[in-house]
Symmetry: C2
Subunit: 278 residues, 2 copies
């Protein structure tokens, strides 16, 4: 299968949802609503939404029902990038070849746009039409992944990690929380929202976590010049880091055995994420 075509098709579907739920550029406050859209469109590869959609397909559920989770995960991902780019965090002026949100709209609006995207993710999940208990579980899955024990805590530790503390365990813990938790929530949450049973959801969560860890290493391999403390490449060297990524990928794919051929897109997405990244 052509994974880029699959990603493109998923992107098209999830962008339809995002376009509908995000307030328009002419709705007041205009700067805030434009800032919210700035990094959502055109966006990146939409790997997380694709994981949500492919996860539902692997579990034999209608992928249409996974779309709110696919879009909600992308909103959370985007909010986290906007806040990570802020001057008080990574202080990045550019992302995906464009000026970052705070460069265009100012710091205050960038903070608020991130806040509003996070709230919108939950509004979107609450407003869908699946069974309430599934939507509820999806809210819980996403909120845990976004919270201080995962995404936010990983970013806090990433910011404060000193070179001398950058052991393999510390770096892996940061990657698990900052990157892998949201990819796990994406992989599991789409299926969960679409009606998969608990065992399938647990396998997909474990799959997503491993893919996320592999993805982060691949990202560090691509971005070798960065030389930050929380990098497996810095810690283990390129060769060993690449081996870890491959072994995480194999472990991720092994989680999919129960799904047979229905998991083909998920397998390809895992390879894409672990070997290419972004």
């Amino acid at each position: 299968m052509d994974v880029e075509a699959y990603l493109g098709a998923c992107a098209g579907r999830v962008e339809g949802v995002l376009e509908k739920v995000l307030p328009g550029v002419d709705e007041a406050p205009r700067d805030l609503h434009r800032a919210m859209r700035h990094l959502v469109f055109p966006g990146g590869k939409r790997i997380r939404p694709a994981l949500a959609i492919a996860g539902a397909e692997a579990a034999g559920c209608p992928s249409e029902a996974a779309l709110p989770m696919a879009a909600a995960v992308e909103l959370v991902h985007t909010y986290s990038l906007i806040h990570d780019d802020l001057p008080c965090m990574d202080d990045d002026a550019e992302r995906r070849g464009r000026p970052t949100v705070h460069v265009v709209y100012g710091e205050a609006v960038a903070v608020l746009a991130g806040d509003a995207l996070l709230a919108l993710a939950f509004e979107l999940l609450a407003g869908g039409d699946g069974a309430p208990e599934r939507r509820m579980a999806a809210v819980g899955e996403l909120a845990r992944a976004a919270g201080s024990r995962n995404l936010v805590g990983g970013q806090a530790d990433d910011l404060s990690l000193a070179e001398s503390e950058a052991t393999e365990a510390a770096v892996s813990s940061i990657h698990r929380r900052k990157t892998a938790a949201l990819m796990a929530a994406a992989s599991a949450g789409g299926a969960l929202l679409a009606g998969a049973d608990g065992d399938d959801v647990a396998c997909l969560r474990s799959f997503g976590e491993k893919v996320g860890l592999a993805f982060q290493i691949a990202d560090d391999l691509l971005d070798d010049g960065r030389d930050e403390p929380a990098s497996m490449v810095r810690l283990l060297g390129r060769e060993e880091a690449a081996r870890r990524s491959e072994s995480l990928l194999a472990a991720a794919v092994a989680e999919l055995a129960r799904f047979g051929g229905r998991a083909a897109p998920l397998r390809e997405l895992a390879r894409f994420a672990a070997r290419r990244a972004r």
Copy 2:
């Protein structure tokens, strides 16, 4: 009835929930988790949680079932204060007689602590044990109140409002979104989570919005020296502003007619909020 005693009792109950859901001060990342608790404890009067509890009582529902909403609303209120105090927003070094979160823990941790409190509010609602459809509706109620069309949008407009644009309509719109929407969600959301019917919930929402508008005017009356563009006191003078607050209070109390004696605490809370504030 003694409204201060009622507030104290509500505060005690909601603090029990907050204590349980917030990670402990020794859980890593310690700075992040301490920053999350810094403004939650000791906290303020807990008016919003009291509205959630009293709203459920007014609708004849068990107030115990409203506690997750009471706590979630307080988490959202606290997150919004932490972000509002940031140097890029109101740049406040002190709140409730203590240094603000960014002064103690730095800007990055303050942004992240706010983010994590917002996510935790939804995690808390998703994890409760009421009927899923009610928890789902509560998530929707809170997410809408927190989003760009309410809380965040109100703050964005408050920050950018020029004196020349501060008409009564503009100021009232800011107060409605920045202050009243969350008080409306508190008043309605407790009852909604506890099982109230749609008509009762709608009356409580309308009550909470009017109380919130009255509360904001009372707050401006207390804080007369501030002289910001978005102040009814600045716009109308003290006397007329106080009259508006009283008339909003009367309109709020009128919404409670259907609930009879069960709404006594809610009436007293409304008077307390409109006449004293904070």
